[in-house]
Symmetry: D2
Subunit: 410 residues, 4 copies
Amino acid sequence: MELRPLTRAGERFVAIAEQHLDAFRARAREHDENGTFATDNFVDLKESGAVAAFVPEELGGLGLGSIHDWAVGLERIARADASTAIALNMHLGISRTIATGWQAAVARGEPSAAAGSEGMLRAIVSGDLVICATATEPGTDFLRPLTTAKSTPEGFTIDGRKIFVTLSPVANLMAMNVRVSSSEGDQIGFAFIPIDSPGIEPQDDWDALGMRASGSQSVLIRGCKVAEGSIQIAGPWGRWSAGLLMGRTLGNLTLVGAFLGIAERARELAVAAARTQEKPKYDGAIGQAAGVQHLLGEIDIDLAAARCVLSRTAAELDAVLAAHTATPIPLELAHECMRDYQCAKWTVNQNAMKIVSHAMDICGGGAFMSGHELSRLYRDVRAGPFMQPFSPTEAREYIGRVALAAYPDG
Amino acid sequence: MELRPLTRAGERFVAIAEQHLDAFRARAREHDENGTFATDNFVDLKESGAVAAFVPEELGGLGLGSIHDWAVGLERIARADASTAIALNMHLGISRTIATGWQAAVARGEPSAAAGSEGMLRAIVSGDLVICATATEPGTDFLRPLTTAKSTPEGFTIDGRKIFVTLSPVANLMAMNVRVSSSEGDQIGFAFIPIDSPGIEPQDDWDALGMRASGSQSVLIRGCKVAEGSIQIAGPWGRWSAGLLMGRTLGNLTLVGAFLGIAERARELAVAAARTQEKPKYDGAIGQAAGVQHLLGEIDIDLAAARCVLSRTAAELDAVLAAHTATPIPLELAHECMRDYQCAKWTVNQNAMKIVSHAMDICGGGAFMSGHELSRLYRDVRAGPFMQPFSPTEAREYIGRVALAAYPDG
Amino acid sequence: MELRPLTRAGERFVAIAEQHLDAFRARAREHDENGTFATDNFVDLKESGAVAAFVPEELGGLGLGSIHDWAVGLERIARADASTAIALNMHLGISRTIATGWQAAVARGEPSAAAGSEGMLRAIVSGDLVICATATEPGTDFLRPLTTAKSTPEGFTIDGRKIFVTLSPVANLMAMNVRVSSSEGDQIGFAFIPIDSPGIEPQDDWDALGMRASGSQSVLIRGCKVAEGSIQIAGPWGRWSAGLLMGRTLGNLTLVGAFLGIAERARELAVAAARTQEKPKYDGAIGQAAGVQHLLGEIDIDLAAARCVLSRTAAELDAVLAAHTATPIPLELAHECMRDYQCAKWTVNQNAMKIVSHAMDICGGGAFMSGHELSRLYRDVRAGPFMQPFSPTEAREYIGRVALAAYPDG
Amino acid sequence: MELRPLTRAGERFVAIAEQHLDAFRARAREHDENGTFATDNFVDLKESGAVAAFVPEELGGLGLGSIHDWAVGLERIARADASTAIALNMHLGISRTIATGWQAAVARGEPSAAAGSEGMLRAIVSGDLVICATATEPGTDFLRPLTTAKSTPEGFTIDGRKIFVTLSPVANLMAMNVRVSSSEGDQIGFAFIPIDSPGIEPQDDWDALGMRASGSQSVLIRGCKVAEGSIQIAGPWGRWSAGLLMGRTLGNLTLVGAFLGIAERARELAVAAARTQEKPKYDGAIGQAAGVQHLLGEIDIDLAAARCVLSRTAAELDAVLAAHTATPIPLELAHECMRDYQCAKWTVNQNAMKIVSHAMDICGGGAFMSGHELSRLYRDVRAGPFMQPFSPTEAREYIGRVALAAYPDG
């Protein structure tokens, strides 16, 4: 019942992901302990072609298209190192957008529009381009960035501070949301900026409870000047649009896969312990104890629900996208996609946290030691509920409003 | 995100099921109040062809094959009347077995073997044959029936008592498990007996908390004489076999659909109340209250998990069956199928109970009145955890043992 | 660890309550089945003096003073018949108010003020006075009654409709909240009206999921004329005051005891079943099964939390009252008392519902039959969350606001 | 509703505990980060007299007697540093045993027996004696220690390995359970050994997920020779006795207080964040969001249950002890005390973990940073379920068996 890819390209992607697991797992403890970014993992991911998953086959990539299979691949990687999984997710999300842009331009017969994307996609294949993304700032939410892009005669000057800029230590391009002042009121824009641009100042300050190898440092942006074309306007500041909803859903649903992967790994460790850890009380392995069997049962119940809700939600999202290649997605449907993602996120996150905790119960006090993999999983898995948009303080109300068709404006 | 059929025959089955909803819902309150079997619903189900869902198209049926779609159709019916859904399930389960037997005989080129099945299938189409099944007795479990079939020169004489014989008020054939004494030790047998046989004494004693229109009376069997061919031996008494495991999984997973259907209906009622019930406190509909939105959010989170775990589990079971048309299913795989069913059953039942309760919270004190549909749903939904095999006192341990490949013998 | 009274008078009250259990339990099934009010139980409660629990000893009562012990007595009665427990609670709540009024008047040396109360208290002792109370109407909440008392030269004329008027079939006085129009804006008033007054029309329409013997019919009030002194003004319509908060807390916290009592009884039935129900599978009682032990463990964990949170909350409320005999309770403290009651109510209700459901799991399919006591407990226990004020759609937000000292006005 | 001491001595103990909070909190982050034992805190605890809480007043201590108040004091300390709370608990548990022994000897009029205890108690007052205790070894449980005490002509030679020897870095006496071989079969013994004895080798290897300042290193015991009087026999190896049950209950129930203290602190941080953290979306503090209020409500519901179950369980245990000063506690009652402790432990631990997680949800992504106090609380609180005896794999079954009076032997 574990998740399996549904497409050919997905099978390739997942097979590649699985090849990395041993090496990533071997490195995970040290990166976690030191809080170092898993640069070595990204060397491997470039070499295997995983970073080019969304690049079309004709440009040298894997030709991945399915959101479902993207999530499955991340789930696999997270079994070894969830930090690497979420870092890769950032890059894959943006590269998918570039790839769909290229395909649309080719389909429209606009070679010049395609050319720019093609260059980026080829750079991704060669390993020369890694893209990180951030939409998080202290003290505000995704729809209300306080990082400001001021119009200048040459383009824009950007100032602000971004946090949780996962993958940034090895990225050379950074995507972020900004507030663009304009005569029609403030707008949300997305800026794409080379990370070595003047004014982009990574802070090397990532020191967190978990996901310690994800390089999610903060980045100061001070007087960073960009050309006009570097910022795409996405709609009014503080308001949801179908595009913003779908963007957040597509980029973040797959993150849920990482937390499922953590749960999968915790379950493996619990089963192994139940089979091999012995106690005089049981005159053999602890798995003979009914209480251990009960907790394993609870783990598998929670795991089945988590797997299924992620799998079906992602597959349904693929179906929505397939049905809207030529027509825009209406706002209501975009809210429903976001709602389905929020439901899946809630169950997977909550169940994953329970599964890790139950696995610790089964493994016993040893799981509390820093050297035990479960103590890392316990820290990593807690990142799930923080993932935006809609934290646990917001998600239930949002879901309820969608049920009532009382969609929030922002 | 509601469940949808995956096959053409399933689409027909579900469409037919949906046509019945208004009529069934209109009758549900009265049957529930009086504890009368919903005979009128079965008149309709015969007329619409729903009872012949599993009969091959060439014999006049719908040609249904998918377990998944079977569950979806039951889910729909349960939105109107869960008693009717679980009663229909009994009949469909046995008729599916007959249909697959007919198809196998035809495929093997054994017309005489096919003839018997064909007669039954045609009788199902004409509405002349309705089959109920029971595997429940007081004070024992499915693997250890105390109802005894004693060998006689002419066949067997059966004595015992069966309970929860759902659908029996309108059935004319009854399938049940019995204990067959033999020289190699006791065996489990399945007996198929016309319900008007001498010695079959329905007790007309169904008076329960919920599922009151399901006709789940007890049946005394006293000195009932059957021919030798009426009993099929399924294996040693008290022991699981692949066949017994798959039989219980196939026949009961779809029952879970009925409890999902109850949850779906409860959610409909909650959303309607949130939109239309007004209070001076809110100067309008109660759905404006954040607390109502929160509970609706909890309902939709639980509903999404319930839908997905049932859908994926049933689809996977279809895949297992498709991969084993020619080869037997190994014991280990049969346990894994049972395990997956148990996981789905747990989540759907628990979530459905929560959803009904939350819907009552939203609808307020009115939902506590006997005339309110939710008060029936609250009683009906509680039947779920009792469904065999593996009650909540047993399921977690069983699932845990499968995880450890420490399969219980019986 | 079961609850025990903390005062001498409480010991007497609880001992009396326990003497009734056998008789009440013997009658419970029939009243439940027929939806008849348990008039016979109230004959007994008058005879035993339980109805005069709060009447001071010098006036012939038990002299009960402790909220804690009141809750304990109700808990005991609910083990036999929760309907009777909640019906008695109505009467005890009002009679306690009368008793404290009498004591205050005596303490102030105002014999004429004491005289009226004394008459009522003596009538309670003689069994001539039973008082019911209602603060519920369809489509509104406690603070916003739509039942209107219009000022007339002779007093007031009252029109409206009250629901859930528990105990009304045997009560001869009815207390209720009404909306009193005045020049300073609408007020909430409490009216005390003989139930046989012209214009008071009990509807004999109580037909509910559970608590079927509680007589909680609706009462129409049509042109009911009362003297001016019959209505006490409690504050502005739609606004909380310390008095209203304390009144609701004092009158309703003890109701929680009834739901604890249901849980206590469910646990007794589960333990008895575990000890005595046998299955061939276990070659003896089902209590040998680890899965049954696990569920009993879950029951006792939930029961311990429910007992303790009710016991400590009620004892703390007694301490607050003892500290404020001479000084009024500030609004903030009144909100905190209400908050503590809401926390206790939530845990007891949720745990009681879980305990009943787990007990059903242990007892098996027999518990689903109408004749099984657990099937009544399952219906009765669901009444808990509906108890006002603050349903599950409102309670969490209210509690959170008190934590932030952002007290809601109304 | 926070816990308050019930005795005079308890008031003193709690007041002293509260004086330490600011200093302990200021040191907590650094000890946590470096995994250093909080030696400075123990300097303070000696100075304030907290380490002498159980020493009778006539010997210079606080004269604490109440288990309840002991738990309350630990709860307070854990608000600042849970590591220090659990370390102090080890010492207090053993010193309480010494104090009750002294009191009994004095009461019996046996000055020589009292003299030894008196010396130790005075050493505790002067700060010269700190005692740690361990009953944990890898791969076995409390009743089946593998550390062996072999009889020699001079006494015993002990070999083995103990883990989780909390407080050992500053202790000068170590109490531990050992396996003593004897002609009547193996026995459990308790050895009291100066920690600087030859053969006692602390490993300085404490590096854990949480409770990092508790100094819970492992200790090798190699050929450690002790005099015969240093080991007290407690009963057969592998079997519960009333004494062992009560010893474990008394020593560990109060540990639960530490986890309640963590929850109390997490709640404080959540309330402070809700009041002060601002977001443009809310045009003010996030506490205005209904979703934040809902989560605060869930926190307070869980906290109320946790407080009450610990308070009442501890107070009941005090009552049991008071009723058995002259008579031994029967085995059944000892199991019931253990059961009540297990119920309290379960609810407090589970609720505390939920509360910390909900507090993180409210505080947002900042709470995931290593510098945020909640990230430490999240790690510390996870230690709770590991506390012996009866992990979550064992507790429910144990509690269920006590309910059935089917007490486990061992």
